[in-house]
């Protein structure tokens, strides 16, 4: 089992971008403990906006100024769609801290979020969409 971040040694200088730099998680969020908008779930999928997906264009973009290393790592990671849980695992940060950073980027228009498929199971509505289940079934059969 991987040690919790708080148990990792403090001087880990192999990565200037912060993944190995141990600081208190809520320091990264500048003390904020709750996201601006609490709409992100573990499986909300995030994609870096297209203009930033290209490193050359991204380097010229003024929108990236003032971002912290963790923000940049997220934008890099999400050039291909990644779930909140995947981003958190990649950064080795707790999900709640990751959500605050993601919220910053979404608010600045640098990251797009796609909510998970709604699995409505309210009483009496007949259950899930059969078309969706059929698609899932087809995909699973190829495993």
């Amino acid at each position: 089992m991987r040690p919790h971040w708080s148990e990792l040694p403090d001087e880990d200088e192999d990565d200037e971008y912060g993944a190995g730099t141990m600081v208190r998680p809520y320091t990264i969020t500048r003390g904020r403990t709750a996201p601006e908008h609490d709409h992100l779930t573990l499986i909300t999928l995030l994609t870096t906006v297209e203009e930033l997906a290209d490193p050359v264009l991204a380097a010229r973009s003024s929108g990236l100024r003032g971002l912290q290393p963790e923000h940049r790592l997220i934008l890099e990671r999400c050039r291909r769609p990644a779930a909140v849980a995947e981003v958190a695992a990649g950064l080795d940060l707790p999900v709640s801290v990751t959500k605050i950073l993601l919220g910053d980027l979404i608010a600045q228009g640098l990251l797009r979020a796609r909510a998970p498929i709604s699995v409505a199971r309210a009483s009496g509505d007949g259950g899930l969409d059969l078309g969706l289940l059929t698609a899932v079934r087809e995909g699973l059969r190829r495993l």
């Binding site: 919790h4 906006v49 849980a85 995947e86 981003v87 990649g90 699995v119 899930l128």
Partner: protein, 202 residues
Amino acid sequence: MARSAPLPSSPSSPSSGTAPVAPAALKILIAGGFGVGKTTLVGTVSEVAPLRTEEYLTRASEGVDDLSGVDNKETTTVALDFGRITISPELVIYLFGTPGQERFWFMWNDLVNGALGGIVIADTRRLDSSFASIDFFESRGIPFVVAINCFHGENTRSVAEVRAALDLDPQVPMLVGDVRVRTFGRDLLLALVDHLMELSAA
């Protein structure tokens, strides 16, 4: 380090003007007692090596017993392992192995809200370790299937005996196999989807 499987979508050309469309995601929970093979099953069917993430458990405003002596936030963390199956360019399934201490689940709504369904893994030598998972899915109305894991090559009880011991609803599917085997993992997921289809058609 997160590894990601190549998605079929081409690398976006910056000037194309059409944003790459993210797939939509679904979630399946894998539950069962400690050491019963949850993470193993995640790894068996996932296209990436299981990833681990952590979350603080915050104390709910009421109804929580026994985290006394600690202030009201960030009392503990839970770790969960997860994997991914890309169904199509439009659809991705995330599989979450649930934290061993089921009594904490209700504090983590994000994990259970909106789950498509669940798989409860049981070990016939200690079935009681899976009771909590079954109770939990039943109480939250999350459809599930039961996997009897013959990890150790032994299944000491008949299927009927196990069903009775777990007090399973007759329509809940139960499969016997080895969660290290990919085809068994696939069959479990297919059984869950079939079960969901039956429930939807009912």
